[in-house]
């Protein structure tokens, strides 16, 4: 803490002293670099942190700069009022550009945002209002009492203050609740939705942040240069901005700043050979994505792992500790139906994955869902948890019709799930994975980020304390800071359950929780699931491990070709002829290592004969 404070002190001092050692031209370059750094921060927040490919950042920059130019020169408003309105205009533009992100992602989004940026450039080069290709000159000098901002030296201080605040705010966002959700969305939007992250809202937030930073940069640019023209906001500059973010490291805000400042300097230094410089950036970007995808910011971490591997130190002390059972909750309230699926059909073009499935799960039950591969088990889970909208039929959860509910709404009303092929957030630590699910605050509390930051920090502390409890309970303390994908499979499965339970669900859906686990791990899993039920959470699990289903579930539903073919206690179910035929084939159940079903194996008279 002390060293961090000292480092900040040194940085502040250096930022304060910097202009004293520089010529007027160099200060100008530094001022430009800071503006690009602001732009890169916005780009990093949208692309690196939130995973939204945004190729319209340069247009946000342009909207900010042009709005100031138009408001001051055409309408005669003061600089600061214009600046405020300009930032607002940029944010509105950002939200507009972000709308397509609700419907499409990745390269689709890249092309649409790039197209919209081109449209903006087309407008400014042709419109009368924007002065066409000549641009707008004569933007007034921003006034500040006692400070002459026409001096680039003094303007530097204005920029440094804005930039520092913007960087701090960005870091604050990234490392607290909102940023964690954004990063979770980047790593796996589906899983993030299932953990209660309101995905559409978060996508818009990403664009809001990108445009906020773009707008600020535009305002500072117009105040510094006092002239705007279309060539500053070209697609070429968009790609240079992209190069800055990639070279610096898109996932680290500090990396984005380093990339922006560094590349602006290099660009200035090579301005006589600009084409060769451009060739250089292109080559460096390609080399970066192939050899150092995390950018310059990722280099220290890569060196550290390399060093650790060289020394071959194995942190063997880390181990999966035993699970501490939950305290048994006296069941309160009626044992009514918690989840009911009524006549649900799911059609995928020609394939009917679910065919009028009806089932009801009572509070406090452990229900098994079994069936051959492709019988529609996971599809059923996807319908229940809101990933698919059923073609026909209704799903009712906790006395409400949830057929059309989104995954995050369901999560917030108390439904949690795990995934068949592990969907942990790969770039988040184990602790952060838990924190994402723990965080039950609704997205609209985001106003706190703008107006009451201490509230965010207080909530963060509470969440961390609870995350520690969960890590402790599930025996994951040693892996709290680990990257989940580096851990053994069994531990990842345990983390998934811990993460789902962190949301304190009323109903937990486990999709093949025992897949890939060894015998001992399966026994642990049985203890965990029992304890989860005893704590008051109803459990439905899909499983192929019949031993586990037999010993754990009170009631089993058997699916085959999308239809429910049997339902009852495990013993009843395995003796149903349809099940034997569909699920076990026509081989003898005893050969499959199952408990021999009484009625099927023993004739009535034999049973009577034995006392």
């Amino acid at each position: 803490m002390k060293s961090r404070l000292a480092a900040t002190g040194v940085l502040v001092l250096a930022a304060w002293a910097l202009p004293y050692g520089l010529g007027s031209y160099t200060v100008h370059v530094v001022n430009i670099a800071l503006i690009y750094a602001l732009l890169a921060l916005g780009m990093g927040l949208a692309m690196g942190v939130s995973g939204q490919i945004n190729l319209a950042q340069v247009a946000f920059f342009g909207v900010g700069a042009y709005a100031v130019a138009i408001l001051t020169t055409h309408y005669g408003h003061g600089f600061w009022l214009s600046a405020l309105l300009a930032v607002l205009a940029t944010v509105v533009t950002g939200l507009f550009v972000g709308v397509p992100a609700l419907r499409m992602q990745s390269h689709y989004l890249g092309i649409v945002t790039l197209g919209l940026a081109l449209g903006f450039i087309n407008w400014i080069t042709n419109a009368h209002l924007t002065g066409g290709a000549d641009g707008i000159s004569g933007i007034p000098v921003p006034t500040l009492p006692g400070v002459d901002l026409s001096s680039e030296y003094l303007y530097y201080y204005l920029e440094v203050v804005v930039f520092a605040l913007a960087l701090l705010f960005g870091l604050f966002v990234v490392h607290t609740s909102l940023g964690r959700r954004l990063r979770a969305m980047r790593d796996d939007a589906l899983a993030a939705g299932a953990m209660g992250a309101e995905i559409p809202f978060l996508r818009m937030t990403a664009f809001l942040l990108a445009s906020l930073y773009g707008g600020l940069a535009g305002v500072l640019y117009s105040g510094l240069i006092r002239y705007v023209a279309p060539e500053t906001f070209s697609i070429g500059n968009m790609f240079i901005l992209l190069a800055m973010v990639i070279i610096g490291g898109r996932r680290s805000l500090v990396g984005c700043v380093v990339g922006a400042v560094g590349l602006t300097m290099v660009r200035e230094w090579l301005s006589d050979f600009s084409t060769y410089a451009q060739l250089g950036y292109g080559v460096v970007v390609v080399a970066m994505v192939v050899f150092a995808p995390t950018g310059l910011a990722g280099v220290p971490a890569r060196l550290r792992t390399l060093y650790a591997r060289r020394r071959a130190q194995q942190p063997s002390r880390a181990e999966l500790r035993p699970f501490t059972p939950y305290t048994v909750e006296e069941r309160s309230g009626p044992d009514g139906v918690l989840l009911s699926v009524e006549g649900v059909t799911q059609q995928f073009r020609g394939l009917r994955a679910l065919d009028e499935v009806t089932l009801a799960v009572h509070r406090g039950e452990i229900r098994g869902v079994v069936g051959p591969n492709g019988s529609g088990k996971t599809t059923l889970f996807n319908v229940i948890s809101g990933f698919y909208r059923a073609t026909a039929g209704t799903v009712r959860f906790a006395d409400a019709d949830t057929t059309a509910a989104r995954p995050y709404t369901l999560s917030l009303t108390g439904l949690a799930r795990t995934f068949q092929n592990l969907r942990l957030f790969g770039q988040l630590t184990v602790r952060e994975n838990i924190l994402v699910a723990l965080d039950r605050t609704r997205a609209h509390t985001i106003w706190q980020y703008a107006l009451w930051q201490p509230g965010v920090l207080a909530r963060e502390r509470r969440l961390r304390a609870r995350a520690d409890d969960i890590l402790e309970r599930y025996g994951l303390v040693d892996f709290a800071e680990a990257d989940p994908s580096s851990l053994p499979y069994g531990i990842q499965r345990r983390i998934e359950i811990a993460r789902a339970m962190a949301a304190r669900p009323r109903l937990l859906l486990l999709d093949e929780p025992a897949a890939g686990l060894n015998g001992e791990e399966v026994q642990q899993l049985i203890r965990i699931v029992r304890s989860i039920r005893d704590s008051g959470t109803t459990v439905i699990l899909i499983e192929h491990n019949m031993g586990l289903v037999m010993s754990l579930c009170e009631k089993v539903t058997v699916l085959s070709s999308g239809k429910v073919i049997a339902e009852g206690t495990p013993q009843e179910v395995v003796s149903t002829p349809e099940v034997i035929e569909a699920y076990l084939g026509d081989s003898d159940p005893a050969e499959l290592g199952l408990d021999t079903p009484r009625s099927a194996a023993r004739p009535e008279h034999a049973q009577e004969a034995t006392p």
Partner: protein, 289 residues
């Protein structure tokens, strides 16, 4: 009516070029899941090389085109080789990698051919035809014919030849394709080379229609991408329909909104793609749990 039809004809020939760009783009996308942002700049290089061999070396137009296709095909092979470590891994990184290549190609074009562009004269000198009062330039007809041939040729290659079938298999499931003994790397390289060749064809053909300079790729490319998206990513006939749709939309926008045609085109495009993100013939989308 007359005006409308005249715009339509203009849109069709430009649309044929966009369709060629979109086709190359879609071919690469369906085979290796790569959105090649350098595709447009490959088309620009194609336009420059074709015009250089046609104007400076005074080769016949068709021969100049073939040379351009071969050269850009080679560039395609280089790009594929460099980005191969990322294939089927990180989608967004590959995308950015191709943007990097685009920057490189643009810089190279400026270094080789300078910043001033060039106008390429049409290789056909016959007077425009007059069909029912609509003027149809013979060159436009040539462009449409070549594009149609390319569509038929590509469809034949994909459905009737062994290599084409292998490429389809890789597109469906690259792991299963490896398991049955298809060399996925070679198949991808071939797809990339063909894609680049189609880009060069588009670039070479557009030379006499537009002004050739280093920024040609930007104009051609984004509309080509938009065409691919509108038709449905990865679908070959979708690319054709999308290309023509964008060409016609573009030519109407130019007629009615003059300077703001790009803005209008992209606003309409964005609205269309919002309504149907998978495009007209798109299928594979929605990620599964």
């Amino acid at each position: 009516m007359q005006d409308t039809l005249q715009t339509l004809v203009g849109g069709l020939s430009l649309g044929a070029v966009y369709a060629l760009v979109a086709m190359g783009f879609s071919l690469v996308y369906r085979t290796m899941g790569l959105v090649n942002f350098a595709h447009a700049d490959i088309a620009m290089i194609g336009a420059y090389t074709a015009s250089t061999f046609y104007l400076t070396s005074e080769l016949p137009f068709a021969v100049a085109m073939v040379v351009a296709i071969v050269i850009t095909g080679a560039i395609g092979l280089v790009i594929e080789r460099v980005l191969r470590p990322l294939e089927n891994k990180d989608f967004d990184l590959m995308l950015i990698g191709t943007i990097g290549f685009g920057i490189v190609l643009q810089a190279l074009a400026v270094i080789i051919w300078g910043t001033t562009g060039r106008a390429v004269p049409s290789p056909l000198h016959s007077a425009p035809l007059d069909v029912l009062g609509i003027r149809v330039r013979t060159y436009d007809l040539l462009v449409m014919a070549v594009a149609a041939l390319a569509v038929v040729g590509l469809a034949f290659f994909l459905s009737r030849t062994k290599r084409g079938a292998a490429m389809q298999a890789v597109a469906m499931d690259h792991e299963a394709a490896t398991a049955v003994g298809i060399d996925v790397g070679r198949s991808n390289a071939l797809a990339f080379a063909i894609g680049a060749g189609l880009a060069a064809l588009a670039g070479g053909l557009v030379g006499p229609m537009l002004y050739v300079d280093a920024s040609l790729g930007g104009a051609l490319g984004i509309k080509g991408f938009a065409a691919a998206m509108l038709g449905g990513f990865g679908s070959i006939h979708g690319a054709v329909v999308g290309g023509i749709a964008i060409g016609v939309l573009d030519s109407y926008a130019a007629g009615h909104f003059q300077g703001y045609s790009v803005l209008v085109t992209f606003l309409v495009f964005t609205a269309a793609i919002m309504i149907r993100p998978t495009g007209i013939f798109g299928e594979r989308t929605v990620s599964r749990a």
